[in-house]
Symmetry: C2
Subunit: 478 residues, 2 copies
Amino acid sequence: MAKEKKLVEAITSMDVDFAQWYTDVVKKAELIDYSSVRGCMIIKAYGYAIWELIQKDLDRRFKETGHENVYMPLFIPESLLQKEKDHVEGFAPEVAWVTHGGQEKLAERLCVRPTSETLFCEFYSNNIQSYRDLPKLYNQWCSVVRWEKTTRPFLRSLEFLWQEGHTAHATHEEAQEETIRMLNVYADFCENVLAIPMVKGKKTEKEKFAGAQSTYTIESLMHDGKALQSGTTHNFGDGFAKAFEIQYTDKENKLQYVHQTSWGMTTRLIGAVIMVHGDDSGLVLPPAIAPVEVVIVPIMQHKEGVLEKAAELKGRLEKASRVRVDDSDKSPGWKFAEHEMKGVPVRLEIGPKDIEANQAVLVRRDTGEKSIVSLDGIEASVEELLGAIQKNLLEKARAHRDSHTYIAKDMAEFTRILEETPGFIKAMWCGDQACEDEIKEKTSATARCMPFEQERVSDTCVCCGKAAQKMVYWGKSY
Amino acid sequence: MAKEKKLVEAITSMDVDFAQWYTDVVKKAELIDYSSVRGCMIIKAYGYAIWELIQKDLDRRFKETGHENVYMPLFIPESLLQKEKDHVEGFAPEVAWVTHGGQEKLAERLCVRPTSETLFCEFYSNNIQSYRDLPKLYNQWCSVVRWEKTTRPFLRSLEFLWQEGHTAHATHEEAQEETIRMLNVYADFCENVLAIPMVKGKKTEKEKFAGAQSTYTIESLMHDGKALQSGTTHNFGDGFAKAFEIQYTDKENKLQYVHQTSWGMTTRLIGAVIMVHGDDSGLVLPPAIAPVEVVIVPIMQHKEGVLEKAAELKGRLEKASRVRVDDSDKSPGWKFAEHEMKGVPVRLEIGPKDIEANQAVLVRRDTGEKSIVSLDGIEASVEELLGAIQKNLLEKARAHRDSHTYIAKDMAEFTRILEETPGFIKAMWCGDQACEDEIKEKTSATARCMPFEQERVSDTCVCCGKAAQKMVYWGKSY
Ligand SMILES: [Zn+2]
Ligand SMILES: [Zn+2]
């Protein structure tokens, strides 16, 4: 047992030091490795396999909603980045600049794309002439770079992987519909695939994307009570269109500006999965994105027939699920700890006695619960169990989120909640940015969003006491 | 007919100006668009859909041969790039340098990865300790940057998309096996999916990859008689391992260096497909990578029942193939020309008379041949036709390659062939780089490879007349 203990003991308990627990999990579950490039992570095979499952599901949803993938250049000339005033102000301070190509100094600096609005705008200005060319519904999968000062794997890094949707529409209404449609696609994906419940809402002016008319967000609550912005969609109105002169002739042959949107989700979703579902034994993966949904651990595997039976079960189960047999020469106990660390949803134990009894032991990663099932019809037992785990993770996460969502009516309450029981704070706001600034300065909490589902939790602004306009979700965030 | 003509006439004939024909096709078939970033292309939706099909098939082959995907950083610190002498000499002259992050000047320049050997080596040096950790079989899909002076879409661009496999093994033999295994995976893919026959062989010392012990290549012949290096695999021996100190303890507890390989294919494959299969009507796509395998063009689509029948046929055919109905308000003739330009393998025409006769017209893109088939069992007719097209494209390409492969016994013959009937030249070589240099200088042809299938086409070196060592495929190349 010494070895198994070593693997488990190496993890800090999440209640002792959540940040350290997180770092331990990303390393021990073999999701990432550090590189000699500051703030850039290596996504290891297991971590990348999770990303591939996320990509595959999201990509299908994008295509089902009519989007096509394209690929834009990695570089943006400085002059192109500068075309939209708010956008450049937001991004210029945090981009990486290429100044030399080979031996030659460039006449104009190129930034490594922090996001590709400007490239898509240039593309649209060359490819949209008539109302017949609209809408344009594009997405791209790529990596982007933002020169962050402090970084954390998946949550904030110099380079990260993401998708960025960019669309152009004839009218403001169509752009707005797209913005909300994709927010709903994101929220559905997070709930049904990642098993993470989301609060959907609109960002305040202060928190919106550089260059956007309005930004919408899905916000989730981590185990430690901090919020994570998990995906955003932006309605740009015709601001970029005016800066880049993207016009089309309408049915009456009049020139009109297009209305644009963009929307993105990133590898930070993996950080959300870790911080929402994980526990002191490591990662806990929802089956839908688990590279291995069922690990078969043979017991006394040297005994005749055990490995054969394990292989047979794998063959039967992998018709519906991702299954691995761990027939390495490590002890079963070591294997148990290792696959728990990696968050494998179901462990199937099969040994000589089980074979004799025509049964197997199934162990759930989420609850630790063991059950003995007959080998006859084990396919159905496993499928049912995976479904139950997926469902339970969402319910647990929702219960945690709901029990860590508080109402504050004044700043004393607001501050006490943040200090004593961190979580989402629902509080009214007068709509004045001064109050938003003051709250941030005093508590470091920010307005996460103005949720679509508004409630009137009091009549006055939590900060200034003036008449309330909006109920806002507040919280400290990653 | 005026409109259809305009679309077709806009293309230069390939026999008049092959380079211009190529440029016309990539634009008119909507594969790429130019951007304001010199030498970087925008891969449009149709072009990217081809790349997605290439990726999907290759990725499956990589996984079937035991490889896992990972993701390495976009940046390489200058000091890391410099660790392996030959490698840095090969790549340093053609990389893009990041010198500033945000407002700050970096203490050390970062290059945008031109290839990721150095990053994988650093990763391996941290992650390999024992023989139990071997082999490491990784791949990554990403974009890389090489600061090329002259660029052409897909064939040579500042930034391109690719996959790079990187593996580490216990012995030289295992690394060599991997190098040849992946070359075969590449060649099989090109023949069976892209319908392009390949010559497999080894590169000469002069042509091998910077830092490799040996480089293997698959070479294909374009319609204009130029060669295209279509994929390469490299055996690094333990050269990188020594530079990066990647060691493992073997079963006898002795320290050993690992042996490494790398292998890559890029978006230039799309260039190969264009230049091997294309014709004066535009692109011709092998069904296996055609985003639309069958386009249904309704004839007299305003007549009752036509669009309904087209939709019904789509529903039946899309169980096995990628099918689109073109119900736009363009004329059938315009649609014919457009889908020919985009290389759609099969056009299905269905009009009121066809419906009455319970038939449809099928038109092959590769031969232009028309056939009338019964709507009963049309699924089988279409599937058979797609199979026949895939097969015919490979046979045509092989026949073209074989009829444009020549034997030269002296430099007079060599030069005459290159001038009069460009293609592959099989000629003997003494093994001396001086001859290779002289041939390149005099003819601008290079040694494409020393094919695995050696023949003795003469006894003496085509250049110096000394005793011949190797038969070499020579050619001008992209
Ligand atoms: Zn207020
Ligand atoms: Zn010679």
